[in-house]
């Protein structure tokens, strides 16, 4: 059989617990983003546009939504006979069974899958980053520099270096030092979590790492530093463009607002690098005579009778007459009833905001829902499927869920 040159593996297993109720029923890569998309559309579309045809998606936590969303890969043109999209959950072997223990262990457990394709290179991606990148050019760098591993890097602000894997390179871009989340960084070149490896090299590194009882089996913490110590040739591939890790409520909100405030940075209208997605079949959206829409993005099936300002609306959202939505993210199927006013809210699937509800950053009052672990920037988040009673008042910094139900909330979903 003809050999596959490169296999891409997307790490999509994490729960993304910092996204709170948004990931209660689905894995982080399946979280809606940017009016029409899920986060995983970005790595999948990048693969497709880069000419990659074999993609494994490693799942573990709540894979159903992701599994159904990715399906046969056809929206991304990844429904190939030779190649295609494969969902890779952990599985039972004779005598033993393990959940994925870390990013490196997840790949280790799928060595057989990769071996089946017999690739020269593997590309490791994260399922929760928003960016447009041509991996074919990164592979060119990898081949040209005869590297064992190539890491995509970008400059980050110095004050953020402690959140990233930071590396130092020589003039040719060869990596001379790598520190995971350093207290005191000596460089501001951060790893984007995008790696190309020679499969033979990585395969052995994974087997070795698996033997190491002290390892967390993580690429950034263990595998990459070990390779560097072993004198492997590690290359940096410089990325200049929009890149955002959407790991917290705050960064998810910001990244959505970036589409309105900095539309050129991650240009979704670029027809040479389309971002593909799977979408329900809905008619064009309707804006009524009573509506006022400004500085916003929306998509098919929306019906707007009220006011929408500086917000991102997903498909089939209804905003009734007299309702006001500002600085919000409304996910598919949300209804905002007449007279309700929302400020800086993220409302998950199909939640109904009752008439005259007031919610969000500008609402004073006792905060019955705050969970300081998650929220600190004034955003109010609603779980999916809630019905918020008419006239309810919900302040900022809230994570509104059914389990914390009190007099103002009921749920429409069977729990």
């Amino acid at each position: 059989m003809a050999r596959t040159e490169l296999v891409a593996l997307i790490l999509a297993g994490g729960q993304g617990s910092r996204l709170g109720v948004l990931t209660k029923y689905l894995a982080k890569p399946a979280v809606p983003f940017g009016s029409r998309y899920r986060i995983i559309d970005f790595p999948l579309s990048n693969c497709s546009n880069s000419g990659i045809e074999t993609v494994g998606v490693l799942t573990q936590y709540r894979p159903l939504a992701l599994n159904t969303y990715v399906g046969n890969g056809s929206p991304w043109d990844l429904d190939r006979n030779k190649g295609g999209t494969y969902i890779l959950p952990p599985y039972q072997k004779t005598g033993h069974s393990d959940w994925y223990k870390g990013t490196a262990n997840a790949i280790f457990q799928n060595i057989e899958f990769v071996d089946d394709w017999d690739p020269r290179y593997v590309l490791i991606l994260s399922g929760d980053h928003v960016y447009k990148m041509d991996y074919a050019r990164m592979l060119d760098t990898h081949i040209q520099k005869e590297a064992d591993a190539t890491l995509a890097v970008l400059e980050v602000p110095w004050h953020e270096t402690s959140r990233f894997g930071i590396m130092t390179t020589d003039k040719q871009g060869r990596i001379t030092a790598f520190e995971e989340k350093p207290e005191q960084a000596t460089s501001n070149l951060a790893s984007m979590g995008v790696y190309i490896f020679d499969w033979a090299v990585l395969r052995q590194a994974l087997i070795d790492d698996e033997q190491d009882a002290a390892s967390d089996h993580d690429f950034g913490k263990n595998v990459i530093p070990k390779m560097l110590r072993a004198g492997r040739r590690l290359q940096a591939h410089r990325f200049r463009g929009y890149w955002k890790e959407v790991g917290t409520i705050g960064s998810l909100w910001e990244a959505n607002m970036d589409l309105l405030d900095r539309p050129q940075d991650i240009n979704l209208r670029d027809r040479d690098w389309r971002i593909y997605s799977r979408n329900p079949v809905k008619p064009a959206h309707f804006v009524a005579a009573s509506a006022r829409v400004s500085n916003s993005a929306m998509t098919d099936g929306c019906r707007i009778y009220g006011t929408v300002e500086h917000s991102v609306l997903f498909n089939s959202v209804t905003v009734e007459a007299g309702a006001v939505v500002r600085d919000c993210i409304l996910m598919p199927g949300v209804t905002v009833a007449s007279g309700a006013v929302l400020n800086k809210c993220i409302v998950s699937f199909s939640t109904v905001i009752g008439s005259d509800v007031r919610a969000g950053a500008d609402v004073p009052g006792h905060n019955r829902y705050t969970d300081h672990h998650y929220l600190s920037d004034g955003i109010t988040v609603f779980e999916r499927g809630l019905k918020i009673r008419d006239g309810a008042v919900i302040p900022g910094n809230c994570m509104v869920t059914y389990t914390e139900a009190d007099d103002i909330i009921e749920t429409r979903f069977r729990v």
Binding site: G34, S35, R36, S74, P75, L260, P263, L268, R269, R274, I275, Y276, S277, N279, P280, V281, K282, P283, A284, H285, F286, V287, A288, A289, A291, V293, S294, N295, S296, A297, M298, T299, D300, V312
Partner: protein
């Protein structure tokens, strides 16, 4: 639920022309309602009825239709056994036959796909329904042919086929574009017939040297055949002319009509385009309008329909108009009662004004 039927859509209608919109494409391929081509509604009705084999008969101007239908995957008709077949006469030029070839595509299709019934439909009507009720009545009454009609009468003008029926619904007479219609029962160009029966009728036609195949020509045989008239009571738009194309589009701003066509629970499928979401600028005014993905709106849009990827620049005003895919309306432009076909470019400051009955039609790719 699975329906033991196959579908046949007639992509052209020799008595319907839509000015410049018809020039580059078949009737079935004319864009409608922002994301769709007219044929999408009938194709979706068939798919939603559980039909998995559909033939589309096209006489000429296939390219748009072929591009739109592609492999059929958007309608889930990319099946192992050819879910969607384009049946232009040309593909039968393999045989040496003469005129009969224009029907051989049809005959081949009917022969290959063994379903009990054939649903035959014209391409000038827009509605959203399944054919289960039609087939059920057809079976219960043991009809030869059952045709759908509604009570539009002559409201949409020609072409029309006005039925006279007896009390049980059997067709007793049919009048085409009558000056004095005997009833308001106007056929809507959809019928069901048993496959075997259809095959016999077409063979008979060919034997008699009659190579014309249409729903009208079948209904005309009400003397020899038991033809049942079945009423369709839902929303239905007929596209018989530029005027009715325009008024049918404007009807979409009616909440109840939109509800029946799009939100009844039966999806209307169309080709997937992967556009960006629509984006509204800081300054803009949009009222009573349907806007598709990929649009960028910085000006004013009132009572209008924008197809995918349209740009309305600052200080431009689009009112009572239809703007098709990827057209660009520059700064300071005014459009009133205008239909812009795909890929038009309207230069800054241009003003185009039509009348409700005579909208200005700008052909595909024009630079004005």
């Amino acid at each position: 639920m699975f329906l033991n039927a196959m579908g046949l859509i007639l992509a052209d209608h020799n008595r319907i022309q839509l000015s410049d919109l018809s020039r580059p494409r078949a009737l079935a391929a004319i864009p409608f309602a922002g994301r769709y081509r007219i044929i999408d509604f009938m194709l979706s009705n068939m798919v939603n009825s559980g039909i998995t084999s559909v033939g589309v008969i096209a006489m000429h101007k296939y390219k748009s239709l072929m591009d739109h239908l592609g492999t059929g995957s958007s309608w889930d008709l990319d099946r192992k056994n050819k879910g969607l077949s384009l049946l232009p006469p040309f593909i039968y030029s393999d045989n040496d036959g003469g005129e009969a070839d224009s029907l051989s595509g049809l005959l081949d299709f009917i022969r290959m796909h063994r379903r009990r019934y054939v649903i035959i439909a014209n391409s000038n009507v827009v509605f959203n329904a399944t054919f289960h009720d039609l087939v059920k009545q057809h079976q219960a009454n043991e009809a030869d042919i059952s045709v759908l009609y509604n009570r539009d009468g002559m409201a949409y003008g020609a072409p029309s086929a006005i039925l006279s029926t007896d009390r049980k619904g059997w067709v007793k007479d049919v009048l085409f574009n009558p000056p004095k219609p005997p009833s308001r029962k106007n056929t809507i160009g959809v019928m069901v017939i048993e496959r075997e029966r259809l095959m016999d009728l077409v063979h008979e036609d060919v034997a008699r040297g009659n190579y014309d195949f249409s729903i009208d020509s079948l209904i005309r045989r009400h003397d020899e055949l038991k033809i049942l008239a079945v009423e369709y009571k839902g929303v239905l738009l007929r596209i018989n002319s530029i005027e009715t194309y325009f008024s049918s589009t404007m009807a979409l701003f009616d909440e109840a009509i939109r509800q029946d066509l799009f939100w009844s629970g039966l999806p209307v499928y169309t080709k997937i385009k992967d556009e960006a979401p629509a984006r509204y600028g800081v300054e803009n005014q949009v009222e009573n309008s349907l806007i598709s993905d990929g649009c960028l709106i910085q000006g004013t849009v009132i009572n209008s329909l924008l197809f995918r990827g349209v740009t309305v620049a600052k200080h431009a005003v689009v009112e009572n108009s239809i703007v098709m895919q990827d057209s660009y309306v520059s700064e300071g432009v005014t459009l009133e009662q205008v239909i812009l076909d795909k890929n038009c470019f309207i230069r800054p400051g241009i003003k185009l004004v039509g009348q409700k009955e005579f909208p200005v039609v700008i052909g595909k790719g024009a630079v004005v």
